[in-house]
């Protein structure tokens, strides 16, 4: 890529696969379990984290030399909280239904381990541009897993994608439902998200043996 140097590009591509925040670092699991029953919610959650982490990383990186290390966690919290409130208000104003579905989980982005993790591990020690790329990369890695999980959970659990029925109508028994197929209620429960994330981890590690820890 001409736009990014090789090292910078790695900041974005690494978290997408081999250093994925959810499947490798096992951070941000709570929200991945809670809101992935619908694909739309997963997507919005991904975008929200993308916004918060991208901008937050830059802000922290800009302030990295003036933050006293003793109170850095408080400073980081204030930055996240400010950004999360912006996201929350925007959602309430423009997508009220969605904001209701996501309910408290937008607010809980503040406690998402990925965000504090990247602030601590990366933004405090790197320049703004690299921090921005790192934030985008990690948020995308998070969003990818959320979307994969959300896709399977909504498809198998409700027979819809983005709320649009794709397998037929379960009440009128059209499409595959006429063959006796039924939605899998287990998919709508958070434990199933954990199992799907586990399966993704399984597939990922059996494809890349270097990821297996002893």
């Amino acid at each position: 890529m001409g736009l990014l140097s090789k090292k910078d590009a790695k900041l974005i591509t690494d978290p997408l696969a081999d250093n994925n925040p959810i499947t490798i670092q096992v951070l941000g699991i709570c929200s991945a379990l809670a809101i992935t029953a619908e694909l739309k919610a997963s997507l919005v959650m991904g975008v929200a984290v993308l916004f918060v982490l991208g901008i937050g990383n830059v802000v922290i990186s800009l302030m990295r030399n003036i933050i006293p290390s003793k109170i850095r966690i408080i400073v980081q919290l204030i930055v996240v909280a400010a950004l999360v409130i912006i996201v929350d208000q925007v959602l309430k104003a423009f997508a009220y239904d969605l904001s209701k579905t996501l309910s408290v989980f937008i607010g809980l982005i503040i406690t998402n381990c990925i965000i504090m993790g990247r602030f601590e591990a990366f933004a405090l020690a790197n320049k703004p541009w690299q921090s921005f790329l790192d934030g985008i990369g990690n948020a995308l890695g998070y969003a990818v897993i959320l979307i994969i999980v959300g896709f399977f959970r909504e498809l198998l659990g409700s027979g819809t994608l983005f709320g649009i029925p794709v397998l037929g109508d379960p009440i009128d028994k059209t499409g595959v439902y006429s063959l006796g197929y039924e939605n899998n209620g287990f998919m709508l429960m958070p434990p199933m998200a954990l199992i799907i994330v586990g399966l993704i981890i399984w597939v990922q590690r059996s494809r890349n043996k270097a990821l297996i820890e002893d």
Partner: protein
């Protein structure tokens, strides 16, 4: 050349290749392999994994046969009941009949075939991928599964659940002997949470009740426990029916008598732990007694939604629902149970205790046995850990006293 020597030749020919485990598996499954006694013929212990599994399967066969007849009997009995005719059970008169057998075999045998077919297929695939021998572990699971599901469960649901149970419940942990959760119960739990309309309620337990629902020929398919949870009771069922198993329920769990026969086989052959079976029943009775005490102390009145189940005499908890089946065939699974003797007492007691608690307090899960066993499966290693640590500490103390 018979099939056996053919298989043996194939085995030799494909030795070391990817398909070898598959041939080996068919060979060991059908015959005694040629290469069993290379050394150690003076060792007389014969309880290898395969024999252990076969004894468990043998102990379950009576339940399966009874389940087949009972499926037919309950079907016709419910039809009679819908027409206002009350049936009196007579073993040879209207229970062991050709009609009952045909209906039962038609509904139950497909469950057995699907359970074994799909489960062994998954095991074969994993054996080929991992390059190890097919383990006998699924033989018991495959037999348990048809016994713990309702007769009318759609076969595709059963296949999905079996794939889930074998892969997530067993293979991800490393196969037979490494699993934390009982695979058969994992399968049942999956079915219960994924397709609750097919696993609970007042339709699925009698063949035909779901199909006929809403038509003029509608029949009832309710279990006794389901009725109690609603604060009702089923007509025309006495204690003897409950004990001998002429009641609706999952395929193989209704006949307490035959489960006791199975328990005797397991205990006599030392395959199942009598400590677990006994302590599970003690746990269930204890919880039942506590609830009876609560009722007789008048802490809750008849208006309470728990009254129906709490008011059952404590010992009747053992003959309604599937606690006995769970205690005998599920809790005793040597892989997922506690290993230490003291641990087995604690493990079993808590299973019985929690089962009855779930049964009474949560009407949405009228049968809590499978949840209780799965929960205790998770805690079994912890129990063992503390039992062993306690042992170590006691011995250390003794050592100190001696040396001092």
């Amino acid at each position: 050349m018979g099939l056996k020597s053919n298989l043996h030749n194939l085995k030799e020919k494909y030795k070391g290749t990817k398909m070898a485990p598959a041939f080996n598996a068919i060979h060991t499954f059908l015959y005694l392999p040629n290469e069993t006694t290379h050394n150690g013929t003076h060792i007389k212990a014969a309880d290898d994994l395969k024999r252990t599994m076969n004894i468990v399967i043998m102990a379950m066969v009576p339940c399966l046969i009874f389940g087949i007849f009972n499926a037919g009997y309950q079907h016709y009995s419910a039809i009679d009941a819908a027409a206002g005719v009350v049936r009196e059970v007579s073993l040879l008169g209207n229970f062991i009949t050709w009609d009952n057998f045909v209906i039962g075999a038609w509904t139950v045998l497909p469950l057995v075939i699907v359970s074994y077919g799909v489960g062994l297929l998954v095991e074969f695939i994993f054996a080929v991928i991992k390059g190890h021998e097919v383990e006998e572990g699924y033989l018991v699971t495959g037999m348990l599964v048809p016994l713990i599901v309702p007769v009318d469960i759609p076969l595709w649901m059963l296949s999905v659940a079996v794939i889930f149970g074998v892969v997530i419940g067993k293979e991800v942990f490393g196969g037979t002997g490494m699993n934390i959760l009982n695979p058969a119960l994992t399968i049942r739990a999956f079915l219960f949470f994924a397709y609750p309309t097919w696993m609970s309620g007042d339709k699925v337990w009698v063949h035909g009740a779901t199909e006929l629902a809403g038509t003029p020929d509608a029949i009832s398919g309710e279990t006794l426990l389901g009725a109690y949870a609603q604060g009702n009771t089923l007509p025309n069922i006495d204690l003897m029916d409950m004990f001998f198993g002429f009641i609706p329920g999952s395929v193989g769990e209704t006949s307490k008598l035959l489960i006791l026969v199975g328990a005797a086989i397991l205990i006599f052959s030392k395959v199942g732990s009598w400590r677990i079976i006994f302590s599970t029943l003690v746990g269930a009775l204890t919880m039942g007694l506590i609830f009876n005490g609560v009722v007789s102390a008048e802490w809750i009145g008849e208006s309470s939604k728990f009254y129906g189940l709490m008011n059952i005499p404590f010992w009747q908890h053992l003959i309604i629902g599937s606690i006995l089946f769970g205690a005998v065939y599920m809790a005793t699974d040597p892989v997922t149970a506690s290993q230490t003797n003291k641990g087995k007492w604690i493990y079993g007691f808590l299973i019985g205790f929690i089962s009855i608690m779930i049964r009474v307090f949560n009407p949405a899960y009228p049968e809590g046995v499978f949840l209780a066993i799965l929960l205790m499966n998770v805690f079994a290693p912890t129990i063992d850990h503390y039992v062993i640590q306690g042992n170590v500490k006691r011995r250390m103390k003794r050592l100190k006293v001696k040396t001092a």
